[in-house]
Symmetry: C2
Subunit: 699 residues, 2 copies
């Protein structure tokens, strides 16, 4: 058999010579080869840009004009393009952390480019991230259990970044699951979900997650009332047996975990609680929540009764919930609670007696509750009312102190007199939902029915910051279509940045090429740098991987993200080196009875060991350390046919466990393209049929 | 109890009056209200743009210059921005259908904006799309079973659009699962996965999916050799017992499904087959596949042997596989096959005897096999060789006819003499992987180690289309970093469009804000409109939801996407009206023994019925029709605590089935924001504890 060589150039020979160093071959492909340590920017390739002032020549103007005409762009389009474009290697100024709706995940989007930088797996197993694919004892899938069943999706609604003194500190991220009343904790050092807690007393939530100004508590408000504790009760027993709730999850920042034993809930009437927001500065110590279905309708369209959509919208006013959480904390610590499913609950009567809970009327079908940055005002949008209603913290405190009540609700909760606590009402347009703030004394409210963003002027100490009369509509910018939430830069903090606003539109209809009958959402970037009536839409960004509800936008340089894990053998579940992590040179296969422990390392471009043989029926514990130290040197690890796939970031250790219940010959390989010889980073897992002896030598 | 009304404007009253029509309330929020029928563009809101020629004024030049300097942009950056920007409502010209790597999904990206328009769930359950969350008899999860286990992820590598006469026809999309040797069929009318077939004879594939020019067959080539049929064999028995394969899945276009009974595989030596490409025009009837590990190395770094990365790269030449599939089809139809796991396999000896299979040498560690648009040449990149090697179809045919063999491999496969079939070798740089084509007679090859895209000139009948000498390197454009595949507009067809090229880079390192230790990939858009050496990178696009391997780029107007399902009660699994689909006015709950059938409709903003009560232990069959006819009027449907979430597109019918095994009160609600009263689109599913009688009246 004879092969003819192709004519070889000098480069061929050089490469062939290099390839002689077989073990080192993989690193040829490494862009960050010169970096022995964790370092974000490999010098050798980083695009160096001379930043000298631009002068656009007449020839360039002519080119640009021709391009604009060819592509049917206006000059405004070109300005918008230039405001949102970043050349290769330049980073976005802000990051949006957006919920992923019923995808169960989180999405991170850069601003102003509006590029989706990453999804973070939270409630839904996701194999690219190796999230939930580590075998039968997967810690993620264990976290997802509710009453013995894996509930492996969620309806994520409202993310909250951790705060210090009312400012995003970039350390943690929280997100609630409306469908199953759960809360997840994400560590922003490695952008991985660390904990999922299930609210044991209710099925659904909506007002989650919101944090108190120092992240002492993460607030989770309910949505659809149920018998607390997962019980059954007939529709006729609604008023008697169903209840709402708001839960205060204690966050232990040092541990990076919620401490369930120090958490408590407050029982509420069976209205459908909606959103919550924590007071800050002037209103620190309070949380505010809105509600609907104070009618306590139970539907029944199937029996000719009004459907929920009608039954829940009959009353002119619902109730703004005012909760004194610092008092509630004292009540909890004093043990004035009952346990429901072993979870501490402050009963309604206790809250009333201890001054924990007050109501005040809010216009029909309210939606959104947003505290101004100085904490002095609370803004409630009435989705079936063209106004936003602004309440004064000072007036609320005074009304509580002076017991200015207009009555009690049917459960005995005192109702603060509306006119005594109201600061202003501002007519904005149809379907106001949510409000955000900037650094110029403006508020921005989404108008669902108008499909617009309204800018309006705040009063009080904000009145000097803008030229307009306080509490008045300034301008509206149309968006397309059907905006839900909106988010401004650092918009939920004590010091918003202004600059950018993103309209989180729910329908995109014709904005993008139709992607089947299921369409993406449309995030529109709005320029709010100029005050007054100038507020152009700059960019449309389709979100075709889920339906985000709410988002927070943080200055990117606040985060202290790890680019590789701090040490080799790092366990992301414990955030420390794992003593079980295999070390290079110490790999091997150890059998104890019918349990086989595989100690493996991964480095470009091979796994050690490459051949693993067990008996059918053996229990397999497989430990892998990614021994890379270069940024982006992630390896995947999968076993065909065994539903296992890991994403091993540089330094990461993972342990998988499963029973080798199917005999056969199963390739394993690296699933993350890592080097020129990535395809060769593979091996065989052989499962010998029952009865045969094991051929593999043990160490 | 007294409530004070806020002062009501005329708008408030108007809205309140409208809201009196309770049942119609939800449609207030509908942007497409005026559309009784399926229609893509609601007239009322579509942004109307006057397209008149732009003349950029000196004032505007000055504004643009200031903006450029503020944002540190060059004039080239502004040109790139203007080349990739689209104002609101303007659609992308091309769509990229990209595999999602180990996310198991597909991603669709618009070009030139590089926006991710949508993900398509394929191998991984995904709740936003309601994919795999319809209870215990979920058809998706049934498709995902392998040997009785749900394998609910995949490593998707190479998508293929269906072709007619070698041109993308926009009808179907195929994608392979490397980790588990599966193939999925997606219908491009509704962008949903319709079928997943498991290759019963092997565990892994790589050369999938590739289609023959009229999509008669979808080709799936193997990767890591195993004993065919999922058997066990020791490493020492590798040469005797392990085999490669290439499978031809028969596609029934009318049914929109693969016909497994008309499909067959060809047994191959236990080399690791890599990529395949179907011949076209001049080479129609052939498929070509490359291979590596013709050394038949079995690794063993754990025993001090060379690891796979070294063992598989020792030989100077591997084998290009040349398969005459039209002959193979005749052999299959003549019954000259053996059944392995009940699947038709043409044995190696038969292939050799019947002239189905030939080899020819290809430079070491080849990667990528790409047939030129005219079918006359086959391009093989040698990832450890700086050349691409170009083979001539005509010469291959001649060598076969004249039996110009240089020998046989150890399994008896005739090897065509290399020099007799080689047309050219072109030196490009380090790490060439894959090649695409344009309409100017150029080829484009990704250089993994150089991190560059090489443009080189084709010869033969292409020589007249460009000014350069045939078979020569024209220019290289650096990309960042580590490009794998690349894709040009219509680049795998008989008539590529040129215009755009996307470099699918594997590492992004410092290109974006670091997203934890796990980084996105980086798709870079390259402008290939000009010939010669001008080939600028226009845009960086992070892909942070998976690791795409390969993609195809189709002219968007070729697709005939449904914007809503054709009729009310449409079942996407059968692509026809389902007789079981509930109709408006005919809803109800029917009990038969311990089985309860719920017939439900969904329309803004209510479900009918809203109260469903069953006994603990009942079997529940729940049928829902979305009665909307407006584009984007999707409803979700979830039951808290029961791991059920549906995405019901306009007209869609879905049936779910589960056992009500946990007593309690479970809210169900619409998970897709659909109207102003979306939150009120809810109801209660009550499961009465065992022993109690059912309160719900049956119809």
């Amino acid at each position: 058999m004879k092969h003819t060589h192709p004519k070889m150039s000098r480069a061929t020979w050089a490469l062939t010579a290099i390839c002689g160093f077989t073990f080192a071959l993989g690193v040829l492909a490494e862009p960050a080869l010169a970096q022995p340590e964790n370092k974000a920017e490999p010098k050798s390739r980083r695009r160096v840009r001379e930043v000298k002032p631009v002068e656009i020549t007449p020839g360039q103007v002519s080119d640009l004009q021709k391009l604009a005409n060819d592509r049917k762009l206006t000059v405004e389009d070109i300005m918008a393009a230039a405001k949102t474009y970043l050349p290769s290697g330049r980073h976005d100024d802000y990051l949006i952390f957006a919920s992923g709706g019923h995808s169960g995940q989180m999405f991170v989007i850069g601003v102003p480019t509006m590029r989706l930088l990453r999804s973070i797996a939270v409630f839904t197993p996701e194999p690219w991230q190796g999230y939930g694919f580590s075998g039968e004892k997967d810690p993620v899938r264990e976290h997802l259990q509710i009453n013995g069943k894996e509930i492996n999706w969620a309806d994520t609604h409202h993310p909250a970044l951790s705060e210090t003194a009312g400012d995003y500190d970039g350390e943690f991220l929280f997100i609630g699951d409306k469908a199953n009343a759960r809360l997840a904790v994400i560590d922003l050092r490695d952008w991985e979900t660390k904990q999922i807690v299930k609210n044991p007393i209710t099925i659904s939530d909506h007002g989650a997650a919101f944090v108190t100004p120092n992240t002492d508590y993460v607030v989770e408000g309910g949505q659809y009332a149920v018998p607390l504790g997962y019980g059954y009760a007939a529709a006729e027993d609604y008023q008697k047996s169903y209840r709402g709730m708001v839960t205060f999850w204690k966050f232990d920042r040092k541990a990076g975990r919620i401490d369930e034993s120090q958490s408590f809930a407050i029982e509420l009437p069976p209205y459908w609680q909606d959103l919550f927001d924590a007071g800050k500065l002037a209103s620190d110590g309070f949380v505010f929540g809105n509600s609907f279905n104070t009618e306590m309708a139970t539907g029944g369209v199937e029996q000719g009764k009004p459907p929920f959509e009608a039954g829940t919208t009959q009353r002119d006013m619902d109730y703004l919930h005012i909760v004194d959480w610092k008092k509630a904390e004292q009540v909890f610590k004093a043990g004035k609670i009952e346990k429901v499913k072993n979870f501490a609950v402050i009963k309604l009567d206790t809250s009333i007696a201890e001054g924990v809970l007050y109501f005040t009327p809010e216009p029909k079908s309210p939606h959104g509750v947003d505290v101004t940055p100085n904490g002095q005002y609370i803004v409630i949008a009435g989705k079936l009312d063209p106004h936003v209603t602004v309440y004064s913290t000072e007036k609320i405190k005074k009304a509580i102190a002076e017991k200015k009540f207009s009555g009690k609700d049917s459960y005995g909760v005192p109702i603060l007199d509306f006119d005594s606590v109201k600061e202003a009402q501002v007519e904005l347009g149809l379907g106001p939902l949510h409000t955000q703030f900037d650094n110029q004394g403006y508020a921005y409210t989404s108008l669902f029915l108008d499909s617009a963003v309204a800018r309006w002027s705040l009063g009080g100490e904000y009145a000097d910051k803008h030229p307009e009369k306080p509490w008045t509509l300034v301008t509206k910018t149309p968006v397309q279509y059907n905006i839900g939430h909106l988010v401004t830069a650092e918009g939920d903090t004590v010091s918003p940045d202004g600059q950018y606003l993103v309209a989180m539109n729910k329908w995109s209809v014709d904005r993008f090429y139709p992607t089947g009958p299921l369409l993406p959402q449309n995030f529109q970037l709005v320029d709010i740098t100029k005050n007054g009536t100038t507020m152009p839409v700059l960019y449309d960004s389709p979100i075709g991987v889920g339906e985000p509800h709410y988002a927070q936008m943080i200055k990117a340089d606040k985060l202290k993200t790890w680019t590789v894990y701090p040490e080799l053998g790092w366990n992301p579940h414990t955030q420390m080196i794992d003593p079980k992590a295999p070390k290079a040179g110490k790999e091997g296969i150890v059998r104890e009875g019918s349990t086989v422990v595989v100690n493996m390392t991964a480095i470009r471009s091979h796994f050690t060991p490459e051949n693993v043989e067990v008996n059918e029926g053996d229990r397999v514990i497989w430990r892998i350390t990614n021994c890379e130290r270069s940024q982006d040197a992630t390896h995947g690890f999968c076993i065909g046919g065994y539903n296992i796939n890991l994403s091993l970031e540089p330094g990461e250790f993972t342990e998988i466990e499963f029973t080798a219940d199917q005999a056969g010959t199963y390739p394993f390989y690296c699933t993350e393209f890592c080097s020129a010889l990535h395809l060769e980073m593979a091996g065989y897992f052989r499962v010998k049929p029952a009865g045969a002896t094991v051929g593999q030598a043990t160490k």
